[in-house]
């Protein structure tokens, strides 16, 4: 694997995470519990779509086969997607969405903070934009998780249930592979081991303020980064890619 191939893999993975999150967030459009939150959720979806666009565009350039960001988003099949599984889980309710977003946005905040000093200029520039967005996403979801955890009995039960369901998908965020290791040595990728400590600290502090308990930690799912996904991803892609696949010659 050349460094360029490793970087393609890395950017695709980050791009896929943004893209699949944006899909799930955008599903909330016209469905949020209050209008203010409809705005906030679509705002996050917009940030994620923009981030996916930049990362997949760069990945397309690195691959050197003339692929655009849309080719990568709309013409790849499930095994070619490398997002973490947590991104593709369907939203049970508003608590699930907020807890998931807290877990992923906190991770992304520390990740992109570190990537702002990447030796790859494009990655550093994308990170500089992403870190501002992630900071807001983290603050917004932290507030909501505390509000819901420490709200009514029902909201507390739902928040706890969400964390229990999501927790077994968190470890995958910190997985590394050969591409990561190569890029880390070159100062391009971020060191997820360092990120883990900051992430755990923020999640624990929020969980404590929200008065919810830590789920048991005995089993963790894995596979997304290697292209082995949940059944949900196929449904996401069949909906998202419908027009591009049904009318392959059309330009939109």
């Amino acid at each position: 694997m050349t460094e360029q191939q490793a970087l393609y893999k890395y950017c695709t993975q980050l791009g896929d995470n943004a893209l699949i999150q944006s899909y799930r967030l955008a599903e909330w459009c016209s469905r949020a519990p209050i209008l203010e939150e409809d705005l906030a959720l679509t705002n996050m979806a917009l940030d994620m779509t923009g981030r996916a666009q930049l990362l997949l565009q760069y990945a397309g350039q690195l691959a050197g086969k003339g692929q655009t960001e849309d080719d990568l988003a709309y013409r790849r099949s499930e095994p070619e997607y490398s997002n973490s599984l947590i991104m593709e889980l369907p939203d049970d309710d508003f608590a699930f969405t907020m807890v998931r977003q807290l877990l992923t946005s906190t991770f992304e905040y520390f990740l992109y903070s570190a990537l702002t000093s990447s030796t790859d200029k494009t990655v550093a520039a994308i990170a500089a934009k992403a870190v501002k967005e992630a900071k807001y996403h983290m603050a917004h979801t932290t507030d909501w998780v505390i509000r819901l955890g420490d709200g009514t009995d029902e909201s507390s039960r739902r928040t706890q249930q969400a964390l229990n369901k999501l927790w077994p998908y968190t470890e995958e965020l910190f997985e590394t592979d050969d591409a990561h290791k190569m890029l880390l040595a070159a100062g391009i990728a971020a060191d997820v081991n360092k990120i883990k400590a900051s992430w755990s600290e923020h999640i624990n502090a929020t969980r404590t303020a929200a008065k919810i308990t830590m789920p048991s930690d005995d089993y963790q799912h894995s596979g997304g980064t290697r292209g082995i996904h949940t059944e949900y991803l196929g449904h996401i892609l069949s909906e998202m890619q419908y027009l591009q696949r049904a009318y392959p010659d059309a330009k939109w």
Partner: protein
């Protein structure tokens, strides 16, 4: 004595309202206003707010299927604007002494309406274009006119909203243009969308002036400045030319330029359909209302939690 003074205060307040009307000065929330004026505005402004919110549904139907990352971003941003307009208009209406919760209850009970146009389905991707170009295009004509409406908060809301609506219309037209320059299937989708949205868009301006029940008061109070037919003609004139430029056919065989009037003449509007949809029998009336009610009910626990959390921490 007291009664007499009250009557005097009433009279002075009324004369301030009348003088402001005469001088074309905006009426502000704290000004005295006739009950009928307040009721008319609550009806019209809350309907406007509900329309923005219900209008998110047909476009929202295509978000997960938007065919490119750029198209998805534009559509998301647009729907977000509509949501913001809804919020802004609810707030402006609240200045008249009604809460958002009351307005939503009126929407659910059927007392308050929303624009009929959103009772039509968005069936293919070109519908997203047609909604932006035709529906928002028609709304702009109406809203530009409302920028000069007599109630200050409403007029200011319109100034702000019009800026964003013109972006919506341009993005809608851009989608239609792309589709018309695309494959045969894309051109068919665009024409199909045009055929289905043209007439309902014309109906958005309401009944002909001779049949419009609210026109009298609305004009007297300067809430409305131009008649339904005047506004409709404005919309047709600008839109027909835009359709021709990209090769879309307007689905009206009687449409032709009237040199004398300097406007297009158009064929008869199917008012039976208009009243049928108002009465609740459009293709999506039930779907739109059920969706809104369901989402509102499902979100109740979140609103209660936020309120409970606030109350707990206020006490501390």
């Amino acid at each position: 004595m007291e009664l007499k003074e009250d009557i005097n205060i009433q009279n002075v307040a009324m004369s301030i309202f009348d003088r402001k009307m005469e001088m074309d000065e905006p009426i502000e929330p704290k000004d005295h206003m006739p009950d009928g004026y307040r009721k008319h505005l609550i009806r019209q402004m809350s309907q406007h707010a509900h329309s923005e919110v219900i209008g998110m549904q047909p476009e929202g139907n295509w978000i997960t299927r938007a065919p490119s990352l750029r198209a998805k971003q534009i559509l998301l941003a647009k729907i977000q604007d509509e949501c913001g307009h809804g919020l802004y208009l609810y707030s402006a209406t609240e200045t008249l002494g009604i809460s958002r919760a009351e307005m939503i209850a009126q929407l659910h009970s059927g007392k308050a309406k929303y624009s009929n146009i959103f009772n039509y389905p968005a069936l293919n991707w070109a519908d997203v274009g047609a909604i932006g170009w035709l529906v928002d295009g028609a709304a702009i004509v109406n809203q530009v006119s409302l920028q000069r409406t007599s109630y200050g908060p409403y007029s200011r809301a319109m100034v702000r909203i019009c800026k964003e609506e013109s972006f919506h219309q341009r993005q809608g037209y851009e989608i239609m243009t792309k589709m018309m320059r695309g494959t045969k299937e894309q051109r068919e989708m665009a024409q199909d969308a045009m055929n289905r949205w043209w007439w309902p868009s014309l109906m958005m301006f309401g009944p002909h002036d001779s049949d419009s029940p609210h026109t009298g008061d609305a004009f007297k109070w300067k809430i409305k400045r131009q008649s339904n037919d005047e506004l409709r003609a404005k919309f047709i004139d600008k839109t027909v030319q835009q359709a021709e430029v990209i090769g879309l056919t307007v689905p009206d065989k009687e449409l032709r330029w009237n040199e004398e009037k300097k406007h297009y003449d158009h064929g008869p509007i199917n008012w039976a359909e208009f009243y049928k949809v108002i009465a609740g029998f459009g293709p999506c009336n039930n779907q739109r209302m059920e969706h809104h009610k369901k989402i509102h009910a499902e979100g109740a626990w979140v609103r209660e939690a936020a309120e409970a959390h606030r109350a707990k921490h206020q006490r501390q």
